[in-house]
């Protein structure tokens, strides 16, 4: 479908070039200042409509997109699955076509199945922004993680990044691996064998290594990214107990000692304290979890601005 002039989808990081990623990040940097103002609102997207279509629960991401839209003066409408007509038997595409008929400028979509945003992008006139699709991608999370890393490390190229946890089911890990390797970081992943496929290093062309133990991944790392362990996975026998997971893969101060002295810790939230991350690490000055959330609003403002017709820095 032909989108109106310069309307652009953000479906994932995989399809972006390094230059496009840097353009989004630089644009987001310039939106940060607005969130520190007393009046946190600019008239830029006045008259534009953003629909947050969430087929999966989310507090942080949905609120972040909603605030981003509102701070740009767009009208934001939230639709969650429990109140939608999907429950009445409507197909996904019909739902999208109906929303599209109300002429929104952008639809932000989250769904438990991979590829849903791509499918909607085929049928809608509105720009589609992926807010997480199954185990595929969560591009705005990777962008805000990159922004946090750049803020504290000044760059991404040449950094050693450890990603620990449920790589198999994680869209956060996938988007981050694409982004970080495209920008020249070296990524090491670790987790239980059931959750980290042994041949996963082929996921990207280069820059990715699979480590057998968390210690190997963290050793000498500049950035340690901890993924949320989804308790529901335990029932499917991916790992025996939370306690066992915590003993072998939980990030503790002792394990963090292996990383570089100035290493930073990221977690996409919501975190399970005492399971994948100990409370003393989560509350330490090296943990930038709340910075990630803060930068998330600026990243989403930039994404909405670019999706509805703005140009990125350097474009």
């Amino acid at each position: 479908m032909n989108k109106p002039f310069r309307r652009r989808d953000l479906l994932g990081i995989r399809s972006l070039s390094a230059e496009e990623i840097v353009g989004i990040l630089n644009t987001a940097e310039n939106f940060r200042e607005i969130n520190a103002r007393e009046i946190k609102k600019v008239p830029t997207l006045r008259g534009k409509t953003v629909i947050n279509l969430f087929f999966e629960n989310s507090t942080r991401t949905r609120t972040s997109f909603e605030l981003a839209a509102k701070r740009l003066s767009a009208d934001a409408v939230n639709i969650s699955v429990s109140s939608s007509s999907v429950a009445k038997g409507e197909t996904l595409v019909d739902t999208a076509l109906n929303l599209d008929a109300m002429q929104p400028d952008c639809i932000v979509v989250r769904h438990s199945s991979a590829g849903v945003p791509h499918q909607l992008a085929q049928v809608s006139r509105a720009a589609i922004v992926n807010a997480g699709d199954g185990a595929n991608e969560h591009p705005t999370q990777a962008l805000l993680d990159a922004m946090t890393i750049r803020e504290h490390k000044g760059k991404i190229e040449g950094l050693e990044v450890a990603i620990v946890g449920d790589i198999l089911h994680s869209r956060v890990a996938r988007s981050n691996i694409h982004l970080l390797t495209k920008l020249g970081a070296r990524v090491r992943v670790a987790g239980p064998k059931t959750l980290v496929p042994a041949d996963f290093s082929h996921f990207v062309d280069n820059g990715l290594e699979v480590c057998p133990h968390i210690e190997d991944a963290i050793d000498g790392a500049d950035v340690v990214m901890i993924l949320r362990i989804q308790k529901e996975r335990m029932d499917s026998a991916f790992f025996p107990t939370l306690r066992e997971y915590s003993i072998h893969y939980g990030l503790t101060n002792e394990r963090l000692e292996l990383a570089r002295p100035d290493a930073i810790v990221l977690h996409p939230g919501p975190m399970n304290r005492g399971i994948e991350i100990s409370s003393d690490v989560a509350d330490s000055s090296r943990s930038l979890i709340l910075d990630q959330v803060k930068y998330g609003v600026a990243v989403r403002m930039a994404v909405l601005y670019l999706a509805t017709g703005g140009a990125a820095v350097g474009e």
Partner: protein, 189 residues
């Protein structure tokens, strides 16, 4: 001779020496009108208003021995043509680190033409607080007949009556190979 945009160079209306003299005069007029540098806040409008504002602030410091506050405004988010076809501007950063409350703001831009940029800058300023007074200083005023809004400059480097087909290019060493102000003309074919 036509440049890469097909514009034809017509005449040079300012060289570096004239530009310097014009900015010195603007600085002394600002100081005179405001009885000194007290409470002055010089705000440059991106992009070419920024180095001009910096130079005016330096000249005020030379005159008064006190450097006025200095900031930068990017008006992209406040433009009124964002939804028109062809407009896809890049957002740069606004840097107003000091409180503008009760200050005397001097907005600085290179060229005053339709007045729409100044409208956007004023709207943005008001989102930051309530200044005591806002004045406008420009290097070149293209003349009142082009104005699309009731906006005039308080301090003018040079008034240059122009036609709509003409373009004023203010070139500054921070961004351009030379320091000069040129009039170009779009060729009519």
């Amino acid at each position: 001779m036509a440049d890469e945009y097909g514009l034809v160079e017509k005449s040079k209306i300012m060289d570096p020496a004239r530009m310097k003299r014009a900015l010195s005069r603007l600085a002394s007029e600002i100081v005179e009108e405001n009885h000194g540098a007290e409470d002055l806040y010089i705000v440059g409008i991106r992009r070419r208003g920024v180095p001009l504002a910096e130079r005016i602030a330096d000249k005020i410091e030379q005159l008064e021995g006190q450097k006025p506050l200095y900031g930068i405004i990017d008006i992209t988010l406040y433009r009124d043509d964002l939804s028109t076809v062809g407009a896809n501007p890049v957002v740069n950063r606004t840097e107003l680190h000091d409180d503008i409350e009760s200050k005397k703001i001097i907005l600085v831009d290179d060229v005053l033409y339709t007045g729409r940029t100044i409208r956007a800058a004023l709207d943005q300023l008001m989102d930051f607080g309530r200044p005591n007074r806002v004045q406008l200083a420009v290097l070149i005023d293209r003349g009142k007949e082009h104005r699309e809004l009731p906006i005039q400059a308080d301090y003018i480097g040079k008034t240059v009556p122009t036609k709509r087909t003409e373009i004023i290019k203010v070139m500054l060493k921070e961004y351009d190979p030379e320091e000069a102000v040129w009039i170009y003309e779009k060729p009519t074919d």
